[in-house]
Structures are given as structure tokens and as C-alpha cells.
């Protein structure tokens, strides 16, 4: 079944407490290679049948309205993937 992936990330200027907590924990388990971490969301919308233009448009709409909160988040990707893993 084809899927449309929507990635949503906290806006860069917005505080990301989740990313901050992870960035704080990484060195404690010996992983010191990272300067910062941000945590966002990834949605996979499955489509029954073919991904038409119209469905892709729906995905864009969903991304902008339901899946992201434009006040604090950016939609960074809306993309069709056909294979099983991305």
C-alpha cells in the first residue's frame, strides 16, 4: 500500500523541551558527538490504491491543518513513498 509521509518539526525559534531533554541524556550514555537534538513527528498516511494528485493535495491540507500546529511547527516534508521502508 503506498504511503504519504508527512514530517513535522518544531519551528527552529521555538523551545523544544523534548529535544533538550534528549540532548542532555546522550552524553550520559557516552554519546558525545551531537551539538543539539530536535524532536518532531512523522506521520505515515496509507492510501488504498493509487496516490492521485487529489489525494496528495489532501495530504498537504491535512499536514497544514490537522497534523501540524502552524503556530509552533513547520511541515518539513510531504512525500509519497512506495516501498515498504522509507
Amino acid at each position: 500500500m503506498p504511503r504519504i509521509v508527512v514530517d513535522v518539526m518544531p519551528k527552529p525559534e521555538i523551545l523544544d523541551p523534548q529535544g533538550k531533554a534528549i540532548a542532555g541524556a546522550l552524553p550520559r550514555i557516552g554519546l558525545t558527538g551531537f551539538a543539539s537534538v530536535r524532536q518532531g513527528k512523522r506521520f505515515e498516511l496509507s492510501v488504498d490504491g493509487e496516490v492521485t494528485e487529489q489525494i496528495l493535495e489532501q495530504a498537504h491540507q491535512a499536514a497544514a491543518t490537522l497534523l501540524s500546529n502552524p503556530v509552533i511547527e513547520d511541515v518539513t516534508r510531504v512525500e509519497v513513498i512506495e516501498e515498504d521502508a522509507s
Partner: protein
């Protein structure tokens, strides 16, 4: 740094004089309660230990020393904020390594109780199987919950009888217990489902599971909070045992007396 140095001026500071067994043998039993920076019910767990007659010992997540405690409680809260997954980061705390080592190794191993977030920590640390995901209704839910004690032979349930029902407050957002079917069958088959929701499943947990144990029965985790049903006047409005009225429920006390009795033999 030692754990005593993190003492803060507490309203809920445990008053030893309220202990039911101030000088008895139970008071010799030292039960450690781990405080993570985001722990919330740690003082409540200490109060519960004291009310049950034991001696509560404060443990600090960053320490490496278990201070010779006889049992450990990992309390509720949001250990490190829990933005990632409840318990995900706490698992790596220095003290958790000590606890994990001491808790593995049969019936004589260290008794460990994980309540709510503590249960999540125990699953993340692989001391208990399965995991918790968001409640099926996606809300935080605080309510007085009826449970059945399915296994009264663990270190933490000896004071109950199998099949006994209790009323204990439940409060969480990520309380839905999940595991694959093989694990669930194994838990059922070995009698390791310790608590089960009755009347209504509050969060979609598989097979109504509210709490489980490891094979030896020394490690138990449960989502509801027995430490909030230990003192008449400050607990749930009801009890499965008697007619108690306003906040009179103390059905959770048995969890704490169980481990104390078990340890004094």
C-alpha cells in the same frame, strides 16, 4: 554527593512518629525510594512506607550507592521530563544500574516496586516485559480505580488474597500496557499478572493488565498508585473492603506491609 544532602524543606516530610510500628521489627526494614529530578510521588511513597511501619530511605538517581536498603520503590512522576518516552532516560541513571543488578537473581534478590512512571522505568530497563503507550483515549486520566489482585504470592502482594479487589487511584497519560501475544500468554501462564483492572479498562491495556511481576516475584510494576490509598482522609472515596466515605480508602497499604512482612520473614 550523598543522598542526605538533597534534603529539601518539605511539607510532606515523613513524620516517623506517625508510623504504626515505630519500634517493632518492621521498622528495621529499610525501603529505599528513588528520586529522579522529575519524580513527583517520591515523598508519598516514603510516607506510605512509614505508615506501613518501615523505614523510608531517600535514594538519589545520580548516586552509585544503594545504602544497604532491603527493598526499593521507583515512584511515579516524570523522571527526566519523559518527553521522549516515559522512563526512557531514567533507565540510564547510575542508581538504576545498581538496582537492575541487585534485582536480578532469583527470589532472594532485591525487591523492587515500580509505580506508574516507575513501572515504565522497569520495562525500559528490561526488568519487566512489555511497555506502556498512550492511553487509548489520549487524555491524562485521574480516577479511583477498582483492581483485582491476581497474584498474592509476590513480594509486594503477600498481604492480599488472590482474587481480592481493591480501590486505588490511577493517574497517567501513558498507561496503556502493551506486549506481544506470546509475552502476554507467558505472563498469564506463569501467574505474573499481579493486578488487573475490573469493571472498566481505563486505558486500553492488553487483557486489562494493571500490574505484572518478574518470574521470581521480587520485581513488581503497576500503573495505579497504592501510595495514594494508605491514609484515611487523603485516599480515594471508596474501598473495596468496607464502607469508608470521604477519601477514606486505604486499600493500597497492603502493598507496603507485604514487602515489610516478607523481609522480616
Amino acid at each position: 554527593m550523598t543522598s542526605t544532602s538533597i534534603e529539601t524543606p518539605l511539607i510532606g516530610d515523613v513524620q516517623p512518629s506517625t508510623s504504626g510500628d515505630a519500634d517493632g521489627p518492621l521498622s528495621e526494614v529499610r525501603v529505599g525510594v528513588v528520586t529522579f529530578p522529575g519524580s513527583l510521588d517520591d515523598r508519598d511513597a516514603m510516607r506510605a512506607v512509614t505508615l506501613a511501619g518501615g523505614s523510608a530511605v531517600r535514594l538519589w538517581h545520580g548516586d552509585h550507592d544503594l545504602q544497604d536498603v532491603d527493598a526499593v520503590i521507583i515512584p511515579g512522576g516524570f523522571s527526566y521530563g519523559d518527553y521522549l518516552r516515559a522512563g526512557a532516560i531514567s533507565r540510564f541513571a547510575p542508581l538504576m544500574e545498581q538496582i537492575t543488578a541487585a534485582a536480578s537473581g532469583g527470589t532472594d534478590a532485591l525487591p523492587v516496586l515500580g509505580i506508574c512512571n516507575g513501572f515504565q522505568v522497569l520495562t525500559e530497563a528490561h526488568l519487566l516485559p512489555g511497555s506502556m503507550i498512550k492511553n487509548n483515549h489520549l487524555h491524562f486520566l485521574c480516577r479511583d480505580q477498582r483492581l483485582r489482585v491476581e497474584n498474592a504470592d509476590t513480594h509486594w502482594t503477600g498481604e492480599y488474597w488472590a482474587g481480592e479487589e481493591v480501590v486505588i487511584p490511577l493517574k497517567n497519560q501513558d498507561g496503556q500496557f502493551v506486549a506481544d501475544n506470546r509475552t502476554l500468554d507467558e505472563l498469564e501462564g506463569e501467574g505474573r499478572v499481579v493486578f488487573r483492572y475490573v469493571d472498566e479498562n481505563p486505558n486500553g491495556s492488553r487483557r486489562n493488565i494493571a500490574g505484572i511481576s518478574n518470574t521470581a516475584g521480587n520485581v513488581v510494576g503497576l500503573m495505579p498508585h497504592p501510595e495514594h490509598a494508605v491514609e484515611a482522609g487523603f485516599g480515594p472515596d471508596s474501598s473495596a473492603r468496607e464502607d469508608v466515605g470521604l477519601r477514606g480508602g486505604t486499600d493500597g497499604l497492603g502493598v507496603f506491609t507485604s514487602v515489610l512482612r516478607k523481609l522480616v520473614g
